[in-house]
């Protein structure tokens, strides 16, 4: 693998990378199955894409077994940082937060808040014991 940084992944590549981050080192078949679960795609397309990505240095290939096993070359955090440089991406993702509903607000909790949370939970645990 080359030591220089791989290029920014395209959207299609990002999808494959997400599968690899989610599942860990994976065979082409499994990547294909996961992607095909959401939209129709050819096995050979995924295989070709993975080969291209391996050339670009986005993924690593383990050829020790009969079925080649692919693995993301960089951790998710690294790629996220890389992608965060993309202004458009960031603007859209940032603004999307105001629309999404979820268990946590888009605000980050502060250190003091986290400490307070811990204390609360600990205290609760102590009480119920």
């Amino acid at each position: 693998m080359s030591s220089e940084n791989p290029p920014r992944p395209t959207d299609a590549e990002l999808e494959i990378l997400t599968v690899l981050w989610s599942r860990g080192p994976t065979t082409v078949r499994e990547v294909h199955e996961t992607i095909a679960g959401r939209r129709p795609t050819q096995y050979t397309t995924v295989l070709k894409q993975l080969q291209v990505m391996a050339e670009k240095g986005l993924v690593k290939r383990d050829e020790n077994q009969r079925a080649h096993i692919y693995e993301a070359a960089r951790p998710r955090e690294w790629t996220q940082r890389q992608l965060a440089g993309d202004i458009l991406q960031r603007a859209f993702n940032g603004s999307a937060r105001s629309l999404m509903v979820g268990a946590l607000s888009s605000r980050k909790a502060s250190k003091q808040e986290l400490a307070e949370l811990r204390a609360l939970l600990d205290e609760y645990e102590r009480k119920t014991r």
Partner: protein
């Protein structure tokens, strides 16, 4: 001045006090009720009221075509103003009305900006569900489906892992998607992930995404109004509270859920972003609420205060503006102000939650087990169907020749088995490659000859000694067969020949041990420090010590445990093997932990089985799994009983009595404290009573207690056995002989059965 600008300008000004009034009404509602559903509904109504107020005001002030001429009904022109209050107005260097012409364009620009932002959010959200996502593992889909059923949701929901999402979130209303950050599903305990997913499902069930979208649009329209932002904040907070409540009502475990939220906040699956201001998060409040702890300062006070101030200032300003216009009474707008509809709608919403019963809180603990069992029974039904199909296929293919007859047992197998502990692999291979029986007889002679201490040892294994006849005085062979005879005599039980048992094997291999520490009835055992210390109750066990074993070392100890109490002691290297308490604990833990994987395996096997034989086998393993799950609770109970047993055993000089293996009751008596009666019976008993009388016929103590059926509610095939153990306190017994009479009432026939045990206290 444009008439439309004027109408908008006035509408904006009026909406200031309208909004303040709505906020005040909301603040009052918030002060009164704690129910998150009512608070949420009230906040939504307040928001709608501000919007409606804006619309109605604008409608009343709208420019009208009146005989071809556009007029605005309120037209507080500067000329009018100054004409009435001449000198005062002249001194005004600044007046709110001066701002009026600017209001409309400013507002429109703001609305444009905010709606653009809303659009960008919408596009961004659509992108998020498309880019950098992949389907979650199938196992999680199944769990999500189960959770969906628990919330009684019929809508299908997609679960995607996203590399952009920092926190789990719901996107979309018609085709909702739950996005979770990559790594979260695997990174948090399953129970916590489930709680989070429940929260997201609750959002979907409540249609929160759509409400939030509309809320954002309204925020964009009324962006200039602080009260609107405050109401919006209340809606957002109460929305989360509503979902929190739903999660806790469904899962029943507030603490787990709170822990999950805290864990989420702690390690956000985040990308780099500018650090946000540390304040303002309401997570602490939420978790305090979840754990039902008293809150800090009440939330409602601050907004009430601010709304009050706002309304006062607005009223003052309004009066100041309206007084000059006495001359035109028709122009005072009578605006249907918000609180009235708000209260009405609020009362309606208040009724609804009362009418709908909240889902019953579920038991926490071994809750995963019943579901898995349910699933297992389901699988067994499917298997039954498959069995029918297979039978049919078998009937079709009846002509096929069935299984072949077993080949006759090989006459030399017995010898090979006997010497299996001492024969080397090379020898075994050589023996098996022999063709004629003469060769085999020869080999056997040579085999013993090679081990004969009287015979000169050869170095090369190929050079078989060429003694034509075996040496009848072969000491090795004699000792070997003596050991075989010994172990067959001593260690055999009904099923297993003595030489096949573990003790037999060790004895044959290493001869008689130098020391045997035997505990044939188990009982109290002081755990050595290296086994964790403390006291426990053990299964029957034996320890064999060899001073020296060539090739292994000095002071070798073998430990054998008879866990099944069949007399067949098993060799173990684990000192905890004999420890009954540890074993029970371990069994429970192991079974619970192994359950999901076993289910998965059975499920995958169900897919592929075809023949009767395979189906038979699969059914057996399913039944075995089912049976193995049933005694878990029983095991826990037994553990408690063991603790009691231990207490009895701790009494010095305890008498341990057994009425023998063929009989029924086991009685353990401690001379000064307690008596323990163990009665393994195979019928249902309701009551047990025990009387102890001294040899003179004097009653020393009587104990009675109702019994609960340990197998109650378990299926008949669960393998549960009635095994009642009862501990009774007994007064100190002076030395002497006693008779214990135990009467057990059979709950089916309502007859009494009596067990009599004689015992002596020394």
């Amino acid at each position: 001045m444009n008439v439309l600008d004027q109408a908008i300008g006035w509408t904006l000004l009026h909406s200031l006090w309208e909004g303040a009034a709505a906020a005040l009404a909301l603040a009052i509602v918030l002060g009164v009720t704690r129910s998150s559903r009512i608070r949420y509904a009230a906040a939504c109504v307040a928001m709608l009221a501000v919007l409606a107020g804006f619309g109605v005001t604008f409608y009343r002030l709208r420019p009208r075509h009146d005989g071809g001429r556009m007029i605005v009904r309120i037209l507080p022109s500067a000329v009018n103003f100054t004409a009435d209050d001449g000198p005062v107005a002249m001194t005004h260097t600044w007046d709110a009305t001066d701002l009026l012409p600017w209001l409309a364009p400013l507002w429109m620009a703001g609305v444009l900006l905010f709606q653009l932002r809303c659009l960008a959010s919408w596009i961004g959200a659509a992108r998020l569900r498309r880019i950098g996502v992949c389907g979650a593992p199938d196992a999680w889909f199944e769990r999500l489906d189960a959770l969906r059923l628990r919330l009684r949701m019929t809508r299908s929901v997609a679960l995607l892992e996203s590399c952009f999402a920092e926190v789990p979130a719901v996107i979309g209303h018609l085709r909702p998607v739950i996005l979770v950050p990559v790594g979260l599903l695997a990174g948090l305990p399953a129970g916590q992930v489930e709680a989070i997913l429940l929260h997201e499902l609750a959002h979907i069930r409540r249609g929160d995404y759509l409400v939030n979208l509309m809320q954002t649009v309204v925020e964009g329209l009324l962006f200039y109004h602080p009260a609107v932002w405050w109401i919006s904040t209340v809606i957002r907070a109460e929305r989360e509270n509503c979902c929190d409540d739903l999660v806790v009502a469904t899962s029943g475990d507030a603490h787990e859920y709170a822990t999950a939220l805290a864990a989420l906040a702690e390690n956000r699956w985040t990308m780099r972003e500018p650090a946000l201001a540390a304040t303002g998060g309401n997570l602490v409040k939420r978790i305090r609420r979840l754990l039902a702890q008293p809150e800090g300062p009440r939330t409602a006070i601050a907004p009430v205060l601010s709304a009050g101030i706002l309304i006062v200032t607005c009223a003052v300003a309004l009066v100041a503006w309206q007084t000059p216009q006495r001359s035109a009474p028709a122009i005072v707008p009578v605006i249907p102000v918000t609180p009235a509809p708000a209260v009405e709608a609020f009362e309606q919403t208040q009724v609804t939650p009362m009418a709908r019963p909240i889902a019953p809180t579920r038991m926490v603990g071994l809750k995963a087990q019943p579901e898995a069992l349910e699933q297992l029974r389901d699988l067994m039904q499917k298997l039954e169907i498959k069995r029918g199909v297979s039978r049919f296929m078998l009937a079709l293919a009846q002509d096929n020749p069935s299984a072949q007859a077993n080949p006759a047992p090989w006459p030399y197998q017995k010898w090979l088995d006997e010497v299996s502990y001492i024969i080397t692999d090379a020898e075994r291979k050589a023996f098996k490659s022999l063709v004629t029986n003469d060769e085999r007889e020869m080999f056997i002679q040579q085999f013993w000859a090679r081990r004969d201490p009287a015979y000169p040892q050869t170095t090369a294994p190929e050079e078989y000694p060429t003694i034509p006849k075996g040496n009848p005085e072969n000491a090795y062979k004699k000792e070997f067969y003596r050991r075989i005879a010994y172990v067959n005599d001593r260690f055999a039980d009904k099923k297993v020949a003595g030489w096949k048992t573990d003790r037999g094997r060790i004895y044959i291999q290493y001869g008689p041990p130098n020391e045997i520490d035997s505990h044939p009835s188990g009982g109290k055992y002081e755990r050595p420090a290296e086994e964790g210390g403390g006291q426990t109750v053990t299964y029957p066990f034996e320890q064999w010590r060899y001073r020296q074993i060539d090739g292994i070392g000095a002071n070798v100890i073998f430990e054998f445990v008879d866990k099944a109490r069949t007399g067949e002691y098993k060799l173990t290297t684990d000192p905890a093997e004999k420890d009954m308490m540890k074993q029970q604990l371990r069994m429970v833990e192991k079974q619970l932990a192994a359950l999901p994987a076993q289910m998965k395996l059975l499920e995958s096997q169900l897919e592929i089985v075809n023949s009767q034989k395979e189906i038979e086998k699969l059914e057996q393993s399913m039944r075995a799994l089912l049976a193995s799950q049933a005694p878990i609770e029983q095991a826990q109970k037994q553990l408690e009983e063991l603790e009691k047993h231990l207490q009895v055993l701790e009494n010095p000089g305890a008498v341990f009595l057994s009425t023998g293996p063929g009989e029924k009751a086991v009685v353990v008596v401690g001379p000064d404290k307690a008596v323990l009666v163990t009665i393994p019976i195979d019928y249902d008993a309701t009551r047990i009573s025990t009387t102890v009388t001294s040899s003179e016929g004097k009653t020393v103590g009587t104990m009675g207690a109702p019994l609960t059926d340990p197998c109650e509610g378990k299926p008949a095939d669960s393998g549960c056995r009635n095994n009642y153990t009862k501990t009774f306190p007994l007064p100190p017994l002076p030395p002497g002989s006693y008779v214990m009479t135990t009467v057990v009432t059979d709950s089916n026939t309502w007859t009494e059965k009596t067990y009599v045990v004689n015992f002596t206290v020394n």
